[in-house]
Symmetry: C2
Subunit: 421 residues, 2 copies
């Protein structure tokens, strides 16, 4: 593992290999966490199946985490479903709502640009993808008029059911303002849509003045009828300051779900037996982090702050550098782990791309890769307004590598402009 070695690694090590409990170099609170997890496992072992919704003590910790995060607004542990990363939860919840309605495909509203899990899952489940464009001119915020336009358009052929919002945004890096979230909630309530809040980057907020507001908290504080809306919120241990991707830990909090649907959900997940107990154990470290006074607290806080501070610097560096390149414009990376700059390509480059039968952003990305070894993902993989070109790049490389990469990128682009001017 790479981050938070201290707590995630030792807890997973302990639950996997119990003789490690005798190791005096592992702090008592890590052992206490591992012991609590093992006590919650059947037969005291992570080798046993857990309940399909996950180990009860970890679900309870997740509920307590949400309650702390949301300033005391209650979270019920029975509304927490543990999953293999956030993806596992998103897929199982989306599957529940996939049945055609009056012969029409159920529609899922997703941002454009979007994270491709959504388009892939919608296609797999034979649902209707309803794209709404994010407002690039407004830091990739959600424009309610655009939501309405895309919904009305989609209603002609499908039965819209779900509104997906990714906040902080992937690939766009925006952090939604509280008032924007309120407007989105009002829209979803008015249009009777189930809200899917993809909040896996909730710890990754960098820009001064930006703050993460959970949809659950805002919805509850708005009172009825909003506080009675159906909401699914997703979280993962793959992002944040943890970056524990491979182990596959995550949860979904399902709020106000119709009891019959909820029963069906529990039945559906039981066919898959259980999410990996190792992923559950690592998620426990995320939702039950060391507290003040515990032996691991200081090292944990130090590691966490160092990771987040460094990401903050890199977020600023990346956006600033891209904005200094001719023909690039990049919104601030307010949160998450990516920049999604727009790039204006000269007409000759567009023509050359056309001749090669490639979208212009893909054409550009291939040349960049071949000449510099830098790999970016063309905007067409995420969706973008027709006639515009973007790419996604991550802020994850270590600062020195990132600086080197940005330097290479800049000189490549100058040569590219020269070539196609």
């Amino acid at each position: 593992m790479h981050m938070l070695a201290f707590i995630c690694d030792s807890v997973l090590g302990l639950v996997s290999y119990p003789p490690l409990f005798k190791d005096p170099s592992i702090p008592a609170d890590a052992k206490k966490r591992a012991r609590d997890i093992l006590d919650g496992c059947k037969g005291g072992s992570v080798g046993s199946y857990s309940d399909s919704a996950g180990i009860e003590v970890i679900r309870r910790h997740a509920a307590e985490y949400i309650q702390r995060r949301d300033g005391g607004i209650p979270a019920d542990w029975q509304n927490i479903i543990l999953s293999a990363g956030a993806s596992g939860g998103i897929k199982v919840l989306m599957a529940l709502l996939r049945c055609p309605i009056d012969g029409k495909k159920p529609g899922v509203m997703i941002p454009i640009p979007q994270y491709p899990l959504y388009s892939a899952t919608i296609a797999e489940f034979d649902m209707e993808q309803i794209g709404y464009y994010l407002d690039e001119a407004n830091k990739w915020g959600l424009d309610i008029a655009e939501l309405e336009r895309s919904l009305n358009e989609a209603r002609k052929t499908s039965a819209p059911r779900i509104l997906v919002v990714i906040n902080p945004g992937n690939p766009t890096g925006q952090v939604l303002s509280r008032s924007n979230i309120e407007d989105i909630i009002k829209f979803a309530q008015r249009e009777r849509l189930v809200l899917f809040a993809d909040e896996v980057y909730q710890d990754n907020v960098y820009e001064t003045g930006s703050k993460f507001h959970s949809f659950k908290k805002v919805m509850m504080e708005m009172g009825e009828p909003y506080s009675k809306m159906e909401l699914c919120s997703f979280m993962s241990c793959s992002k944040g300051y943890m970056g524990e991707c491979g182990i596959r830990g995550g949860y979904a909090e399902i709020v106000n779900l119709c009891p019959d649907v909820r029963t069906m959900l529990l039945k559906c997940i039981s066919a898959q037996l259980c999410p990996t107990t190792a992923g559950q154990a690592v998620l426990d470290c995320v939702v039950n982090p060391p507290q003040k006074g515990e032996p691991s607290y200081e090292q944990f806080e130090k590691e966490k702050e160092a990771v987040l501070e460094s990401l903050r610097e890199r977020a600023e560096l990346v956006a600033r550098t891209f904005n200094s390149i001719e023909g690039f414009s990049c919104n601030p990376v307010q949160g998450a782990m990516y920049a999604f700059p727009q790039i204006r390509l000269p007409p000759k480059a567009l023509e050359a791309a056309k001749n090669e039968g490639k979208p212009a952003d893909t054409f550009y990305a291939f040349q960049l890769l071949e000449e510099t070894g830098i790999c970016i993902v063309p905007g067409s993989g995420f969706g973008q307004r027709p006639g515009t070109y973007h790419f996604r790049t991550t802020i994850l490389p270590q600062p020195e590598k990132l600086k080197e990469m940005l330097g290479l990128f800049k000189s490549f682009h100058e040569k590219f402009l020269q070539k196609y001017k």
Copy 2:
């Protein structure tokens, strides 16, 4: 973990918590295995995403395992897809074949009785379930005439695509003979069905004279056209002598899959990122067990043999005891982990069940549970011929508990017969 503590636990402990490499009490071959896995991980850490099909070195070990198992018949590591238990692989492969054909639902032939993952997945994917009855009078073997009957019946309304065979059987405990497997392969070839061989109990064969034959080996040895058939075989680390259920490790070997379908498969699994690296690591211990001459070999073999020998004794004990109870008849438990006895219930019991609105086997199971605390699963959960009653019970409890359970069961049944005679 409960079984094979020695190898699975230490390898998972090592890859999770690398300082453990310094522990002199862990044998060198366990450390070598953990090191090879970490070297195969991006950034040398199980905290990173792996390829969607799994870590290459583990896929290679799985292919070598299959090749050893099948007496040298080649297995290509690129045909191995690692998954979250066998269930993950079964679902993703079944999803590939779910599209309607000429407006007809694609059909999946499954044994009755069957393991409920299949009926649940078929329902979830809106496919057609085509049940074929196993031949209880012939040790739960597959009768080709019955396969033909069910297929012809199903062809009237659906487009059959897949033939699922569970060998050794769950819940029925049979181990298919080689000639039965040959007949099944010929049937599938004739009828152009994709074979799904659920072979998760391949290590669990108890009865003298019974032997596990993989569908792959038999198919390849039969030569063309059979050796060119599409086959998916599934394996798990949750069964066998390992019993590592919660960690979720498994693989699918896909043989002769049409290249376009294969490309689509790899695209589909990429949306889910990767199977848990912890499950992959534990699967590696299963497909790459200690070899003669390695320090862990003797303890590993001792543990493995002890587990399998004890299961063998329990398999025999359970079938023998059930056959000694009035009104019970139980096929030999040739393999897997379950007995599925038939029970003849007196007419008054059938009537009492009817009055309570319960299937008679469920009625019986509830009374057994309430009076003795013994939990069995009624046959109606797995499917059975109309008018017959069965239940599934496992051979997994430790021998002393099992004997006590069987004693309680017998006296309950005598009282039950008394009550409803």
